[in-house]
Point group: C2
Chain length 191, copies 2
Amino acid sequence: MAVSARRGEPLTLEEICATALRMIDAGGVDSLSMRKLAAELDVNPMSLYHHVDSKTALLQQVCSMVALRLRLPADDGTPWRDQLRALGYAYRSIAQRHPSLWLYVQSHPEALKHDYLLWDVLNRILVAAGVPPERLAHTRKALFTFVSGFVFAECAGILAEQDGPGGAADVDDTFEVAVDLIIAGLSAARP
Amino acid sequence: MAVSARRGEPLTLEEICATALRMIDAGGVDSLSMRKLAAELDVNPMSLYHHVDSKTALLQQVCSMVALRLRLPADDGTPWRDQLRALGYAYRSIAQRHPSLWLYVQSHPEALKHDYLLWDVLNRILVAAGVPPERLAHTRKALFTFVSGFVFAECAGILAEQDGPGGAADVDDTFEVAVDLIIAGLSAARP
DNA sequence: ACCTGAACACCGTTCAAGT
DNA sequence: ACCTGAACACCGTTCAAGT
């Protein structure tokens, strides 16, 4: 009730996605319902289905939109360590901007059509790092799960809890330690 | 309708949790509804609420139940590398047994009251590995997110996709590479 | 104590109808 | 083409009532 279904403009997909993302950021993916979204847009719930196939499709749309903002490091001569670091930080910054959505992305991998560009870039960096070809696929996947696992934990708020007698530690510092550990591991395998 | 609400035995919490877990394993957390669970137990939906506060509380119960099965490596003299490896594999094997539930656990960390025992064991191993005290908390968290990130990706089915020209790679091998990489990274920091 | 039926306030989505 | 209202088949949960 109380959906005053009158508006001037004609309702675009962009508008729908943007509003959905705003609602997700504000209250989590679970708090987004087609009916509430419609109310927010001052539109009948069923109008949405004229622009979007289903709620799942809408979420997919929003996920892709956000994932597109990932800034991949260019293939200039930058040393592999710096490129790997840059990629890790870029990935993390996207998730930090929309933690609730990222929680959803991770547990619904089909929501993101695979970003082959990301894999290609990671591959290139690992080749530069001297990872032997037979271990390339494994290493690529391992690294991706490491970084996404960290970022995911951060989104879920696991990393912020109190520490032992050392007091609360800074999550930024933890991420740096994490990235350093990965780079050290990769460097060790390289003579 | 059609819930033939007659049964002999008196419905226990264990029975509820076990059935819930079975349904989650079969169809994912999303497919579990209080009403379907009640139907499966041949009971009125409202009877469940006499044993459980809410659906969230029920899921929490099930998560704790499963998490309790984690086999932590004992504090014998085993070298830290072996202990760390054992912990990683133990953690993974739990998730592998109930992937859908684990997907939920990860995105709802409040569903698992923190397993301080796990943290303690990990701490002990890292001390044995020679991680300096000021980096202990960071390293512990980084490692945890690495392993849980890997396991999570495996649960979500991200790691099974086709690889480049090398054909499909074995996920077990990838996990081994991942653990090796972590151990190499830790070893590098140790003189 | 333990269980139940009816009810409330929500969902996503279909479908026929309106402009 | 674009939007709408009513309706269907679901949810989780409350509450008063039954044994």
